[in-house]
Symmetry: D2
Subunit: 376 residues, 4 copies
């Protein structure tokens, strides 16, 4: 394998983010293969051509089925709205392509499980755009948990907060469940769930409460009003039990003033603790128990070439959104080259979607809901 | 009323903290009355005399019943272990004294409710040592919520984390429920519940999970093992619904490496948001929606004389633990002088204890548990 | 010695701060002696009586000379405007009293040196109110420099910023050199100089630039205009050489928007580095060279009972302005009890004033100015 | 003009950084022209070919003179060691190419001034790699100073700290002045000077002290020892006067433990203040005077599409080193397309080099040194 040709389906915001990341990934590190940004697919010839031109793709098309059928295409990257994900992914898998799909891979876990099963059967490499876990500080945390340096998992606290829903059109498709809106749990909460499971292992049970915003300067509507009015969840809180006994506490809110895009977590383990905030993503913050009493506390380490996926010898140069996205594609390409599974793959994404649905189910029933299946 | 004489029952750590606070309170501001640190009661004549001498009290005694009976005593301040609180408080109330009691006022809400009822009937002023709420940044947040500047409550996220249980004697009385240990929910979680209700109104329902630490470098024992082994909860997570529909998410852990004493919360409301961390308690951090798009974000305000309970014209001089404790006694004394209820009083504390118990009950049953009673 | 009686001269802001600190100091720790707040002296009988009553002093007087003459007074604490410091201090020294004097002890180093010489000759203990150095995080830094843990001093960067001059009366006495105004270098810069020398050793040379604010929304007037108009310095920057070869960079400004009271420094040494900010004074922040490459960075340690002058076993309880002031008086009283010099004493203060004057001289001459005298 | 072809001279660390930035720049925004990464020049055919392949250039060469002579090349980007900059730049200018040159453009201001004059005469666009100023938070600060929102400049405090010199080879060429080492003032201090002048206007005078590190765990050697031993400056502090009367204070150190790459500044002006730290470069922090007294303080704004050069509608996505470098090339290309000067150009860089040399001169003479020339 000397070359991998990519077809990008969807030239919107996420298509742009992926294009930037593909441009960086092979320059930043030798991936052992040439990555060709071959064709961008969008709805109309004009939009496709304009996007391909602006985003640096060799050609443009409008028929994703025809593109997937092309033998010169190795990777299909899906950046469309979620309701198209399944069709495109299954077609690509069937054609033997490796598939990168933005999250959520679908809003229904049964679809997601089917997609994961098909991909496994076909032997193609899949990956889903839970980009945050590829941050070097998080990868390093994973290493420290795996090699025992942090001890046994005890408690995980996380939140993902935005203020995007203020001043947004209440009639946008994203605001309605029936038109494909994922809600805060599915949209941003899924990132938190991904990282939680990546670091602490399987979540086995959840209990939850969800809310949607009432019109005007008022508070929330109740869960039953929310469902009656076909509203997505704007706010959610849930508890989780992990398979290893650790406890988790999670919060999401898209009506959080001043929170532009704050994904943050804290984890406590039996030998140390870590905290992370995407808004200072270059900082790995860790505390260890085995320090002298007068020197105990959190240390702030700027991630660098001595940490997983760090690109530069000089820490503090700085890692941005595009760079972390590029790391995600480096991981994907390396997995293809090695013939190994990439992570998080469709199977991981299906489990995340199961948890999202369990959160929704619990919000209605008021009961703890078990997550079926188990650790891979 | 020109003078108030205080009897302090208990000369340990908390007795020292109160003594320091009493020393500051009347100097920092004119309370309209002279505060006399009259008598300190402790277990033996020697310990009582030594403590009175060191902590600046005029005299010492060993018999709290006799002291309470003295007509010259106006205030009884209870700093004993929790299992003595009810007896002392009821005796003091019966004698017509105003009572300040450290938290938890008891580990049983039925006792607490009884104490609250007796105090109300007797017309004495009571206050309980939930000191954090008296921090100027929190008092200011309360003002902004009350005057509508922040809009309607939406979400409240809070945690109280310590690492005190590492290296502690597993056989200490505090570590066993049967010997009076309150556990993390009752001990530190109660502070969080107090502030949550003070700011967002009544909590009406909770669901929870609790854990205790297994011996050695291992994870948690399950809830049933915990209860079987007569262990207090070392870790807890719970969700809450507020009467106004807002959601809450809470976490406590006494096995949180690097967290010396971290009490922190974030609240989102429909016009703005506030965050607070006791470890930077002089900072009031607020975001408002109605800012120009290029200037939105959290601002950090150093509290000062222009905020409630600020002592100094010059912000940034700095507020410590003792100063906040002194503010708490200023509030107590002012309430006595005015003949008004102090807050948080026995009634508030009883409700907090009800919530603590609901958290424990839910951790066993796996069900949401309603909190009886309602807003005052 | 079983008792020390204090006479406080001056019942204003600083008299209040000292009163609060005296109230705390002997309760927080056993000082080996009883501290009596005996008499408060102020200008009129009414102001003196009111201050004594509010601030907790046993009696009040208006004639400081008479009070100093009283044999029952052991300590004279001077909180008057600076132009009275010399007279009061010399009288107290002559009467054999120990003297605590607020900073600046004078605005003239020749006076200060004379005062230091008299105190040394009389064998009394003196201390000056450079309170910041008593912060536990700074005391711990001093220890680490002395025991070699941080290696050799390399660079010291410090600033003290306030916004107090905005909206202040331009005709207040503090704003004019001729009416006793110390300017930012003498008033707040002196704190920075004190800590710099305490940690890094003697400053031997300085070069400087100073400015005063022009009226209205304009910039600075030049140094010559400033002196012509009898203005104090509102802004200053200076460089320093330390006796050990280290370099220093210093800035002060009283027109720094948003800076309520920000005293901060960073120091680099050959084995590690420390940074400190009074606005988060409970945090000791240190970096060491000898850490693994993937764990290098600053750690944040909450100071506590395991650090010098920490009062509590539980770090993170919090240290405020009054508590640090109380530590300062604990140090003073302990020195008197032991019969040892306190620090910073009149000699230290005189050297600081020499440096302040060298900064002023350099701002006029444009030359580096040597500081006479040397290390003690 | 529809296409601009770039020749990159030098395929090392900086060549890689530029390659990544060129890959991003035209995708992130429509620059009105196609940017071709045409040819990479390096020392040997092998190194050039390998670098071109890895870094995404169409071809490779070893003879920069031949490449500059090619009519299809529009832009020459110089990433070689500094001693080659002048020859390459002058050849490129003579050939009518636009020139991007890494900093320092030279270590001698006379050369730099000559290069600037030639470029001006030739009418080509030049830009120098002072990348930090292109950070959106800094560009926004520039806007606010220009439109009067912040008022008149008062004080500028800045430092650039690294720990790169610990464990470095003392015999590397960068460590000796005679072998082309720029020292901390020229290497990292120049970035600080660039931003200071960009925001506050011309620096007119400086006074300085410099030091080099002695061998082993010792302190500094003196300035005269440093020059005798042909050492570059490892540490420097200097004061500056700006043309508008503002004061500046600057520090650099490459022996600052824990400082991976910390470029930070604070500025005070008559209506507000701003602070910036590259390690949290997405945060614009500002304080304004005209706020209510109980809401004064610094606010933290995450930069986004509503700020200059922000790429994304969603603030908090995050801006990294490569993204800021890409903004720098966007600015360069836009200037070429518009036929306007880019900033900072060779003229700006020459003035920065004059200031660097004035700092060195002052460190020897002990005198304030005037910077010749003036504002553009």
């Amino acid at each position: 394998m000397t070359e991998l040709s990519v077809a990008l389906i969807g030239g919107g915001f996420m298509g742009k983010a992926h294009s930037l990341a593909y441009a960086l990934a092979p320059i930043a590190d030798d991936l052992g293969v040439t990555l060709r940004r071959e064709v961008l697919v969008d709805v109309t010839p004009e939009s496709a051509a304009a996007a391909a031109d602006q985003l640096g793709w060799n050609s443009s098309e409008t028929d994703w089925r025809a593109v997937i059928a092309r033998p010169d295409i190795d990777i299909v990257d899906i950046c469309t709205p979620p309701d198209l994900h399944e069709d495109i992914a299954l077609a690509a898998i069937e054609a033997g392509k490796h598939v990168f799909c933005e999250k959520p891979i679908t809003n229904r876990s049964d679809q997601a499980l089917r997609m994961a099963a098909k991909a496994r059967a076909a032997g193609v490499v899949t990956q889903v755009g839970f980009n945050y876990r590829h941050t070097p500080a998080i990868s390093f945390t994973k290493q420290l948990l795996e090699n025992g340096k942090l001890g046994a998992p005890l408690q995980f606290r996380a939140s993902y907060l935005q203020e995007t829903s203020f001043n947004s059109d209440p009639d946008r498709w994203r605001a309605r469940k029936s038109t494909g809106g994922s809600g805060t749990v599915g949209d941003i909460g899924s990132h938190v769930i991904d990282v939680a499971q990546w670091l602490f292992g399987d979540i086995t049970r959840v209990t939850a409460r969800l809310r949607a915003k009432a019109a005007g300067d008022l508070g929330w509507v109740t869960e039953s009003e929310r469902l009656d009015q076909d509203l997505i969840d704007d706010s959610g809180v849930w508890l989780a039990e992990f398979a290893n006994g650790a406890l988790g506490s999670f919060s999401v809110n898209s009506y959080a003033s001043g929170r532009k895009n704050r994904f943050a977590f804290e984890l406590d383990a039996s030998k140390g603790a870590v905290e992370f905030n995407w808004n200072s993503r270059e900082e790995f913050r860790v505390s260890y128990l085995d320090e002298p009493a007068d020197h105990q506390g959190f240390r702030t380490v700027h991630t660098n070439g001595q940490h997983p996926n760090g690109w530069w010898r000089l820490a503090g140069l700085g890692t941005g959104y595009v760079e972390v996205s590029a790391i995600q594609f480096q991981e994907f390409v390396r997995a293809i080259v090695k013939g190994e599974p990439a992570r998080p793959d469709f199977e991981d994404a299906a489990r995340i979607q199961q948890i999202v649905e369990a959160v929704h189910e619990s919000a209605v029933s008021g009961q703890w809901v078990d997550i079926p299946g188990g650790s891979r």
